[in-house]
Amino acid sequence: MADAALEKNPMSGRFDSEQIPVDKHGMIPVIADGHDLESVTEKVTAIVLTEPQKTPKGWIAGFFVAFCLLNVLMVALGYLVFKGVGIWGINIPVGWGFDIVNFVWWIGIGHAGTLISAILLLFKQQWRTSINRFAEAMTLFAVASAGIFPLFHTGRPWYAYFMFPQVNSLGMWMPQFRSPLLWDVFAVSTYGSVSLIFWYVGLIPDLAALRDRTKNQLLRVIYGMLSMGWRGSARHWNRYESIYMILAGLSTPLVLSVHTIVSFDFAVGIIPGWHSTVFPPYFVAGAIYSGFAMVLTLMIPMRWFYGLKDLITMRHIDNMAKILLVTGSMVFYAYLTEIFYAWYSASEFEWYMMKNRMTGPYWYMYAMLIMCNGITPQFLWFKKIRQNVPLLFCISIVVNIGMWLERYVIIVVSLHRDFLPSSWGMYTGTIWDWSLFIGTIGQFLALIFLFLRVLPSISIAEVRLLLPQGQVKEAHHHEA
């Protein structure tokens, strides 16, 4: 199957601009010509309904690697619970290390999924349609990976319920509601659960299609239960569309609030390098930037492997590259603003922090950060680069690394020089820090592989609306 897909699309990923089909407005079509309701349904459901013994070898190999990394996570967490957070590299003054770096990195990655599914839906961007399902799944799995860090960095994760309001025998049922860390608990848990139901509501009609297509009795029952007996009644669609648009409307401020609140974790503190009002917009732009990079990292191999070039076209790739350019430029602008304000504040500590960031012991981290997030996205001004898929894949990896470095620079480099030189220290991640981080990547990839195998990775019902058969007479123009 993998080889067949290769043969069918030997050139996928190696388009140059002459070969890309364009419509009469000179735009690359969102969905390639020649598809109808049946062919789209077949194309997407075939990936899921392949018999187990015919699972593509590439999938098995990929899942095996991800599963091994997932076991690294299990070992790292097991040893962490056994020994405590002392196995990490954290110390005084650097009390926040990889745990918070990775938490912010993962939660930021999740934001692209919500942006694609909610904000682009409200702006009626048709091109979001064939990538939203996948991006939403990515959001959920990124949030699942992010959640591990705050949960386990408490040291005693079995007391994590103390973070929620609850009645207990001590009578102390209230957490401190004036703390950004507590806001984080509410923001991230709301974000995770609302993203989950948004994703599930979108899946219902496609689960019904799987139920009706599978020949396997057991799968029919499973998908039938999951689809809740969806029949596609006009009355049902009417309410369904209402709630789908409302969820998009609710998710839009929600996603902006989440990274704003994550940035409050820092901005409310008095540490130079954290205490800054630019943080909320800067963090939100960075989140979307890293999320789109991750969507590209995952989607480029996926569309090539499963031969989904017709549904995830160069239009999608090009648009995502443009968003990467815009948000990357915003992030770079924020870096420059930080430098300016460190100087303009006339605060000795702020200016020292900035000089230390650039020339101190971690100068190479800052230099790499500027290379990854400042310089690299600027290449996306050129159409030739935006449409060179392998190169774009490499750029997306560089951006992922850059965004991880950004959080490292903000958290570790700001903390390691305390106000008193007697309290200065250095920080490096230990093998347990790294194994936990790599382990969450394993968990994320394993979940992505399972998702690709058992659920439709493209929203079939929404893609149908972009087909000629979906353009019904007297139809209001709508695409949800």
Binding site: P180, I197, F198, V201, G470
Partner: protein
Amino acid sequence: MKHEEAPQLFGLLAEFDSADDLTNATKAVYDAGYRKIDAYTPFPCEPVMEAMHVHHNWVPLIVLVMGIIGGSTGFAMQYWGSVIHYPWNIGNRPFYSWPAFIPVTFELTVLFAAFSGVIGMLLLNGLPQPYHPLFNVEQFERASQDGFFLAVEATDPKFDHAETKKFLESLHPKEVFDVEP
């Protein structure tokens, strides 16, 4: 005649070639006075909803009301906890520090609104519903893929098996099925 036949059938189901044909047929059936009708499409299709005169639904109101309830609950919880039940005097700062309560209030507004909207949508739609008579028609499995169907239920006062079937057949369907209950 009518009374003997009605309990044995859920109704009649007609399949159409395209959403356009379904829209026209739905309009005709509605204009003929049938009200216990429903159209089934593989994607949301507004002209069909209009032909059935389905416009308004209660989902947005549920979301609004539950959002307001969620927000007030969130704020009241924080007020009660921080001001009345367990006030902590930290450097004589005010107990009622409402700006600090806004983030949690907002999150709970969204949480309540989103969950009750989805649950409300499902309950109003009568879902989950594992069994439905229409699933007895083998062809109906196309409704989730590329089929366009119109059902007229036997409980409609105007329903008469022979007459309704003749009427549906005059609307150029691909086929008309009897639906077992």
